[in-house]
């Protein structure tokens, strides 16, 4: 059934969300998102936790001078910047290749712009699937 919630505007609510949600294209999009963001979150949180834990409990290791006055603590801290930039860049690339096309295809299939209303018949817009 269609939904008309208090939060929603109601203007484009003639789409059956349950039907989309159960479809294979949506499942693929969800899987593509989760397969990247969940592991990536674990990785950066563990990497950050390791840094904080070493700052608290491995002071001798962090104090080792690598060159000049530059010690492990400083390099480890800077590596958090590098890893943050790297993960952000990897995600941007991944999303552009693997998420945006899938979301775009679903939008094209189910969200018919108003001026397009006569182009295909049913409100579900099931042209291919």
């Amino acid at each position: 059934m269609t939904t008309s919630s208090e939060t929603a505007s109601g203007e484009r609510e003639n789409v059956d969300s349950l039907q989309i949600q159960r479809g294979p294209e949506f499942a693929a999009l969800r899987r593509a998102l989760r397969v990247f963001v969940f592991p990536a979150t674990v990785v950066f949180l563990v990497w950050y936790a390791l840094y904080v834990a070493l700052s608290a409990y491995a002071r001798d290791f962090m104090a080792v001078k690598v060159f000049g006055e530059i010690n492990v603590a400083l390099l480890f801290g800077l590596s958090q910047f590098v890893s943050t930039f790297l993960i952000a860049w990897l995600y941007a690339r991944y999303a552009a290749r693997n998420l945006d096309p899938k979301a775009e295809a679903l939008r094209r299939e189910y969200e018919r712009p108003a001026d397009d209303a006569t182009a295909d018949g049913g409100p579900e817009g099931t042209v291919q699937a």
Binding site: T3, S9, L29, T41, A53, A56, E69, F85, A95
Partner: protein
């Protein structure tokens, strides 16, 4: 006592005031211009959703890089060396939570406020009320931190001494006058300009802050012939703290010889701070509503990417500023407890750099004035964002959806939002005048801990957990928020220690100064428990609608 020689003081004062007035005049002009283009609710709350990824990225930077980051972190590094860097790292890494888990999904599924997402598939009234309470709590604590900071700064930066007056005001009156002025300006920005005006103020501030910090960073590095090791060596030598200055442990996770309990508590406190920093950002309402100012999820992602770049570069520069101040500024002057104990490290560094590179005392006085004006601009942009977040939530969540049950017009909502901004502004001004004794870092820490404990669990459950229901959301918010605030009340920050709010009293039953380590897991546990115990079942159709909308943008506003 000599922050500045008297002749320099008046030069600096004149320049600071002149530059600040230029900033205020320019931003007010833009605000009026933006106000004319603010027609409906979507303009007022979300800036018409028409900003580009780069613009919003800059505005996020302007909203996020507060005076606490600019003055506070630089001062902390100058005072305690390496430990100040911990803040920079936590504040940056936190953006990955926002990028990967929150920004795009929130953009697609919400409309104007954080509560739009939390209440999407729940019963509206209880969840919106809880979200509004939490939004206003977090924002007010953050607002207080900024305004108290502004008051403390002005006496220092304008060089008002204990026995001197400025325009007939002594230092205490000048502080109050500053708080009132900052409050009046932020109300003006928000009431007239709405999200559009506020966004432009934040963009301008971000540019000024980045240019100012970059100039000082280059000068510091040039002083040491671009040899980082030499800079660190000079900082260490001048700090008088030996190699420990470049290692973690001078401030956080201190080892107390012979007191294993206190040592353990200190180290847990460091872990607690680390956790609150990394999880707090994605629960800050004034940051979350910035994602609604762009047309779609893809642009929201781009704006976070820009923000990560801008904020990352800025925090790298705080390293140079902090160690530069440690190496070049006279320590007793920088850490005079009457002068904000380190909060003036960056402006004082500007004076040293100015007089070295730009022709003596006059150059020093002018560069100090420039950086002081940038600091005021920084504070103004952040408080405007916070006021907007609170007033949006009061008008859109509490008034329109709780009191009027969604039966309001756009026009009426915007009128209420403007009045709410006035009320929030006045409350913040009054509280800030009474809160002047409070420690700024304590207030910011509270805001982050409350955001991480009260908001983040509810947001993540809403977006990713199918069974999450109304009672789960209400429990998560009140449980996380309540435990964070309660643990703080019983922490050494409030009583039982020298620097506490009530040094004489002893109800410090909870040993950690930051509640995050306990209250953040509690927020998640409360949300889970509330979901299991609650009698209302999650609505699978609503979840389908939320999930489809959040991932694809179908039906998004």
């Amino acid at each position: 006592m000599n922050l500045l020689a008297d002749g320099d003081t008046s030069t600096t004062r004149t320049w600071t005031i002149a530059l600040f007035l230029v900033f205020v005049a320019a931003t007010l002009a833009i605000t009026v211009w933006a106000g004319r283009r603010t027609k409906g609710a979507s303009d007022f709350y979300a800036g018409g959703r028409s900003f580009s990824g780069f613009q919003n990225g800059m505005a996020i930077g302007g909203d996020y890089m507060s005076a606490a980051s600019f003055l506070g972190i630089a001062g902390m590094i100058a005072l305690n060396g390496y430990d100040g860097f911990l803040y920079s790292i936590g504040f940056l890494v936190a953006w990955l939570v926002a990028l990967l888990l929150v920004a795009e999904l929130l953009r697609n599924s919400g409309k104007y406020t954080m509560a739009d997402v939390l209440a999407f598939r729940m019963r509206q009234r209880p969840v919106r009320t809880a979200a509004s309470v939490s939004t206003v709590t977090v924002s007010i604590f953050y607002l207080l931190a900024q305004m108290v900071g502004a008051g403390a700064l002005v006496a220092l930066l304008l060089g008002i001494k204990a026995d001197h007056t400025f325009l007939g005001m002594d230092a205490d009156t000048a502080k109050i006058a500053t708080i009132v002025l900052v409050g009046a300006l932020m109300i003006t920005y928000v009431v007239i300009g709405g999200m559009k005006g506020t966004t432009y103020v934040q963009i301008i501030k971000a540019v000024l802050l980045l240019v100012g910090a970059a100039l000082m960073t280059v000068l510091v590095l040039a002083w040491f012939k671009f040899n980082l090791s030499d800079l660190l060596h000079a900082a260490t030598t001048k700090s008088g703290k030996g190699p420990a200055f470049l290692e973690p442990g001078l401030k956080y996770g201190k080892e107390v010889p012979g007191d294993a309990w206190q040592t353990m508590v200190n180290k847990l406190d460091l872990l607690s701070l680390g956790l609150a920093l990394v999880l707090g950002t994605a629960g800050l309402p004034h940051i979350l509503i910035r994602f609604y100012t762009v047309p779609n999820a893809k642009t929201a992602r781009k704006s976070v990417l820009w923000a990560i770049g801008i904020i990352g570069v800025f925090y790298l520069m705080t390293l140079a500023l902090g160690f530069g101040a440690a190496a070049l500024v006279n320590r007793p002057e920088m850490f005079d407890p009457d002068k904000g104990a380190g909060n003036v490290a960056a402006p004082l560094l500007a004076r040293v750099l100015g007089s070295h590179f730009f022709g003596g005392d006059l150059g020093g006085a002018i560069l100090l004035a420039v950086i002081a004006a940038v600091a005021f601009a920084t504070i103004l942009a952040v408080v405007a964002g916070l006021t907007l977040a609170s007033s949006s939530s009061l008008a859109h969540d509490l008034y329109a959806n709780v009191f009027r049950r969604g039966k309001t017009s756009d026009k009426e909502e915007v009128v209420v939002a403007r009045w709410a901004a006035v009320v929030i502004g006045i409350v913040a001004i009054v509280l800030a005048i009474f809160a002047q004794r409070l420690n700024v870092a304590f207030l910011v820490g509270l805001a982050f801990a409350v955001a991480a404990s009260g908001n983040l669990p509810a947001i993540l459950y809403s977006l990713f957990w199918k069974r999450f229901n109304t009672s789960g959301a209400v429990w998560a918010i009140y449980g996380g928020l309540g435990s964070a605030v309660l643990l703080l009340v019983f922490s050494p920050v409030v009583s039982g220690t020298e620097n506490a709010l009530f040094p004489g009293a002893h109800f410090n039953l909870f040993p950690l100064t930051n509640p995050g380590l306990v209250s953040i897991p509690l927020g998640f546990i409360f949300g889970w428990l509330g979901t299991l115990i609650g009698r209302d079942k999650a609505d699978p159709e609503k979840y389908a609608e939320l999930e489809v909308r959040s991932l694809t943008g179908i039906g998004a506003h």
